[in-house]
């Protein structure tokens, strides 16, 4: 059971896992079980949010990303920094110092994902004018939130905007422009996203709404931080630098996308539990007066990603200062109109429900399992202690019904059983003596 088949950046380091139950309750999709003395991540339910990475005291949960060495398989390498990267350097005034630093550590070229965000902003603004979407329209930018909807709120998938992610659009433009400038083939160019989170890495290896990602890999922000810092502090200017809009950079923090896309009637929420609460409200049709909903799995938005270095509040403040100092040009006027038709901006495939929470594909069989699950739950103590290795008593009952464990894996049921057996032994001993 439970070996990884779908690609996930979030993994378990078996050597480091102590088999404690800290991560169990923190997983928003209940995708972790402790069995045989160590944690297992259920790959059908994991949404790569990285909450387990944050909570694990033993650093047994890890995010697999690419290393600088992995970029060498390409003749040319382009770095695509997420705007949240700019929030990692205190006092940074201009993004170009970071871009120059990326060139100095070995990238042949740099293309800002903030510019991709500008293009996506304009595309979303045009798309939401069409009456096709139920309200509110839900952002597709955070891959964790998108997977959360696939797992827990499949009825809301038709609310999700069908525009590609900023990193994808940025990679399309970056590769195209580089090839024309240097007269080379697309396959000679490797596009690497500088990522604040494991979810983006997963979205590259295992895309949603796309058969193939335009990116070739992702490098963790925190892995590059030490390499970049000495170069960023040199503050090397780039005379040819053409900045993205402040709106594009603003996507790094909560409300950045909403401000760019629909400032007049939008709601922006961060933190995975908060996002879940609002999605419940949307499902209850309580927010249909809203035009746009931006949900970020991480507190503060992408600056709060598990692979960032700087405190997310400090990073958010840095981004705000940088944006405030920039001209107020909106992507609607800043993005060349030719780009809007030249690059594929819409997702190719529909967003599909995940289906892993179903007890069975057959309704009658699912009902039988649910009935048994409810009967089991009545015998369970309801402590949600995690000693059985399942996150809650309810999840444990479900695991029994699914055939992954038995009632005797509950330490409290076992204790009662032992007590009854001990009493029987005493009675038996007394009877046989007579």
């Amino acid at each position: 059971m439970m070996e990884q088949t779908r690609y996930h950046s979030v993994r378990l380091d078996k050597e480091k896992c102590k088999g404690c139950t800290n991560c169990l309750r923190h997983c928003p999709t209940e995708a972790i079980r402790v069995r045989g003395g160590r944690a297992h991540i259920l790959d059908t339910l994991c949404i790569d949010c990285g909450e387990c990475i944050r909570i694990c005291d033993y650093h047994a949960k890890i995010a697999v990303t690419d290393a600088m060495e992995d970029t060498r398989t390409f003749r040319y390498k382009i770095a695509l920094p997420a705007p949240s990267l700019y929030g990692q350097f205190r006092g940074l005034i201009k993004p170009e110092y970071v871009l120059q630093a990326l060139r100095l550590i070995g990238f042949d070229d740099v293309f800002e994902v903030a510019r991709g965000a500008d293009v996506v902003t304009r595309a979303i603004r045009e798309r939401i004018k069409e009456p096709r979407f139920p309200k509110p329209i839900i952002s597709s930018a955070c891959p964790t939130v998108l997977r959360l909807i696939q797992v827990r709120f499949p009825e809301l998938l038709d609310h999700v905007i069908d525009i590609r992610q900023p990193m994808e659009v940025a990679a399309e433009i970056a590769r195209d422009e580089f090839c024309r400038k240097h007269d080379c083939e697309p396959e000679d160019v490797g596009c690497f996203f500088i990522t604040p989170c494991p979810a983006k890495m997963t979205a590259i290896r295992n895309p949603i709404g796309q058969t193939k990602s335009a990116l070739d890999g992702a490098i963790s922000m925190v892995d590059l931080y030490g390499l970049l810092l000495p170069h960023v502090s040199k503050m090397i200017a780039d005379p040819d630098y053409r900045p993205p809009t402040g709106y594009g950079i603003g996507w790094a923090t909560t409300r950045g996308e909403a401000t760019a896309v629909c400032p007049e009637n939008s709601l922006a929420v961060d933190g995975i539990q908060n996002v879940i609460h609002v999605l419940e409200e949307i499902e209850n049709d309580k927010l249909s007066d809203l035009t746009f909903f931006e949900g970020n799995a991480c507190t503060g938005g992408c600056v709060g990603g598990p692979l960032t270095f700087e405190n997310n509040y400090v990073a958010k403040n840095s981004i705000r200062k940088m944006v405030d100092a920039m001209p107020k040009t909106h992507p609607d006027t800043d993005v060349p109109s030719s780009w809007m038709t030249k690059y594929p901006l819409k997702t190719e495939l529909p967003f599909e429900p995940n289906g892993a929470i179903k007890l069975d594909d057959n309704l009658a069989e699912a009902m039988r399992k649910m009935k048994r699950m409810n009967e089991i739950m009545e015998r369970l103590p309801g402590y949600d202690c995690g000693s059985c290795g399942s996150p809650t008593c309810r999840a444990f009952a479900e695991d029994i019904v699914r055939g992954f464990c038995t009632e005797m894996d509950c330490i409290h049921i076992l204790k009662n059983k032992l007590k009854v057996m001990a009493e029987e032994m005493v009675t038996l001993a007394q009877t046989t003596r007579e």
């Binding site: 827990r152 499949p154 009825e155 419940e280």
Partner: protein, 143 residues
């Protein structure tokens, strides 16, 4: 029809803290059963409305989820105060919500009509001083 699943959620009067928990669990239960699409959307709206009705208007009661082979049923049974004029209460915009509820954004007088609109079957029985019982049925797609 044989009842396959039955879950009873006690809902206390004016318990705004827990409001929505029963409805969330009902949705989760149905999703685990593989009930989705239009039926789930309508049950979501109706269960939330009826739960909030218990919190705001009643002296407390039970919300019951029943799953039958061909339908989902929601039954709200409260301990009073009962509705004096049901046809008035069913009118859009009619509300007896108190100021506390209104300050929280409830009491727009859409609750009962909204439930009726979303359910395939809707029945309301009420006796002043005794209580109100609302029964809503949702047909499951065949197969």
């Amino acid at each position: 029809m044989e009842e396959l699943i039955r879950k009873v959620y006690p809902v206390a009067q004016a318990d705004y803290v827990s409001a929505g928990h029963a409805s969330a669990d009902i949705k989760r239960t149905l999703k685990q059963l593989g009930v989705g699409g239009d039926v789930l959307r309508r049950v979501a709206v109706a269960s939330y409305e009826v739960e909030l009705n218990l919190v705001i208007h009643s002296l407390g009661g039970d919300l019951t989820l029943r799953v039958l082979p061909d339908s989902v049923e929601l039954i709200s049974a409260d301990r009073g105060p009962g509705i004096a004029d049901i046809s008035m209460a069913m009118r859009e915009g009619f509300s007896t919500a108190n100021d506390e509820a209104r300050s929280l954004g409830f009491g727009a007088g859409m609750g009962l009509p909204n439930m009726k609109r979303n359910a395939d079957r809707f029945d309301i029985q009420s006796t002043l001083g005794v209580g109100t019982t609302i029964t809503m049925g949702f047909q499951l797609p065949a197969g």
